[in-house]
Symmetry: C2
Subunit: 334 residues, 2 copies
């Protein structure tokens, strides 16, 4: 039986805000399976802010996407056919998958999922999202019980995960997000101790009110103006875990900001550290065990924000930069 798949190609490097014209969908016939191959039906794709960096040429932590190549990212799928002894038909798998309906792969980099857990958890709570929050908060941020933890981009996938882990270990958690709906959701859903809407007129007053004893750990997903305002609340010997800088990813020129960070790091003896979750790969096993335990105990949850259809994957990605997602942005391929 001949099988066709749609694939989303990366066809134009964006200048400024990423637009749908950076992508084009085409259909092709899938090859037949060679020995060792598996055929995966892609079921969910994860879109993540780091992808914007890969759309630029130039030095970043992940290599640039090649123009004319099929987009790729985290995804889960089901095995439809297998000529690989390690994987059987019906298995759910997770890995770096193409933005496509189907793909044929030798299975390297693809991991069979534990079928006792909802498969999409491998894309958030028990995947890169959860691991990013875990290592960023605990190892980079050195958060400990009693600390005041402030999170920018708190209603994003990583942000709301950081907040939950911080609560579990006994921190006071204050989340910053871009709408009253998001801040309400953070309080109601995850029990954040305080929230701040950075787009509100009284942003500065909200910071004052929520941070009477300063900040011990600032988990930064956003950068820019938000961070400029936040850092003045840092306590002596506090830490900044730099996880993302989403406010700057679509900038076309170098933005200017006040030169306040370095003097402040000095005066308050702050440690600011950038990190990428893959640097912690040797410790993933141990961390996933802990995350799974918290998940199964009901202490770690994730709201999924689901867009339907492969053709809407570019739109789902763009939602991240518009701040439209609440929780983990996924694309479901029906």
């Amino acid at each position: 039986m001949e099988l066709f798949t749609r694939e989303v190609f990366f066809v134009k490097r964006p200048v400024g805000m990423v637009q749908e014209d950076s992508f084009r969908m085409k259909t092709r016939k899938l090859p037949t399976l060679d020995a060792g191959d598996i055929l995966i039906r892609v079921r969910y794709l994860s879109v993540d802010p780091y992808m914007r960096g890969r759309m630029n040429l130039g030095r970043s932590y992940a290599p640039p996407f090649d123009l004319g190549s099929v987009m790729v990212g985290g995804g889960v799928g089901t095995v439809e056919q297998s000529r690989n002894p390690n994987v059987k038909t019906g298995d759910w798998v997770v890995g770096q998958l193409p933005w496509s309906d189907y793909c044929v792969t030798q299975g390297s980099g693809v991991r069979v999922l534990d079928d006792s857990l909802p498969p999409t958890t491998a894309l958030h709570v028990l995947g890169i999202t959860g691991l990013t929050a875990y290592f960023g908060l605990l190892q980079v941020g050195q958060a400990k019980s009693g600390d005041v933890v402030v999170i920018s981009g708190a209603a994003g996938a990583v942000g709301c995960q950081v907040g939950q882990i911080a609560k579990i270990i006994g921190c006071k958690v204050v989340g910053i997000a871009g709408s009253d709906a998001k801040t309400k959701w953070l309080k109601d859903t995850y029990g954040f101790d305080g929230t701040i809407n950075y787009k509100a007129q009284d942003f500065s007053d909200q910071l004052d009110e929520n941070l009477p004893t300063g900040i011990d750990v600032y988990f930064d997903n956003v950068g820019g103006n938000v961070s400029d305002a936040v850092v003045s609340y840092l306590n002596d010997f506090s830490r900044i875990a730099i996880c993302g800088q989403i406010s700057l990813y679509n900038a076309t020129t170098v933005e200017m900001g006040p030169r306040t960070l370095l003097p402040l790091l000095l005066a308050r003896r702050v440690t600011a550290r950038g990190f990428i979750v893959s640097d912690f790969a040797p410790q993933f096993g141990e961390a996933l065990k802990q995350l799974k335990q918290w998940y199964q105990a009901g202490q770690l949850r994730m709201q999924e924000d689901v867009v339907e259809g492969l053709q809407n994957t570019p739109h789902a990605l763009i939602r991240l930069f518009r701040g439209e997602n609440v929780g983990k942005q996924l694309v479901r391929l029906p």
Copy 2:
């Protein structure tokens, strides 16, 4: 016998560059000694960039100087009279001393010097300067053999000390300073592997030429434009030890600069950490032992830049911010 002393008072908080009109000298009669008192003749005073911060009101790591009080800083002196059993006439002592010819003190915070060493070493190589370099480079910067260490303000007291320690432990050392005379001096006197004049037209080319393999440790005394340029050479997993930000200390408004630091710390997983030497006080003894050993072996030296006369102490301080000093700025009281 009645004894008089001149004293330099802090009389006006500077706005912008510190000027001599922030200080006023007056003469007063010294009190007679009570039990436990010692009379110190001040012989050398240390002036240091951090003093500028103490002249402002507002939050810094050291409390603000009070208007109308006598200026105080590191100094060495000789004991002229003693009614304190722990100190005898003729001893050299080091401590926080007033900007004055003489002072009477109970001796708390004053330490008797080992008379086998030149007393001014207690103000630099074997004092706060040396300790700042030591802990900043080794503990904050985590420098190790083979690292490329870049130092801004390299011809300042801490800077040239950092360079020497980095050479001792096997680093490649590149110093940034503000004149060709200074950069030549760093190469000729301390054997820096490379030097860069940040005021030169070809600053950017000099960075390229001197940093073909990037930077592993950036020891920053300066901040501002210099740091903006330097950080783009940081390697993955490199460290910034933030020791000073002298380019900003006399600013009257918040300077603006490119928002490049946080995204770069993220992409290259850099750790930037501010520090103040006093945070390492519990380890001073051990560090001084090592510094003394290097000093006695001729591996650590310090050029003293000496201004004569108590009345010129404000001028000596101002020289720091004009970049006029080469090596450790001292004031000798003849």
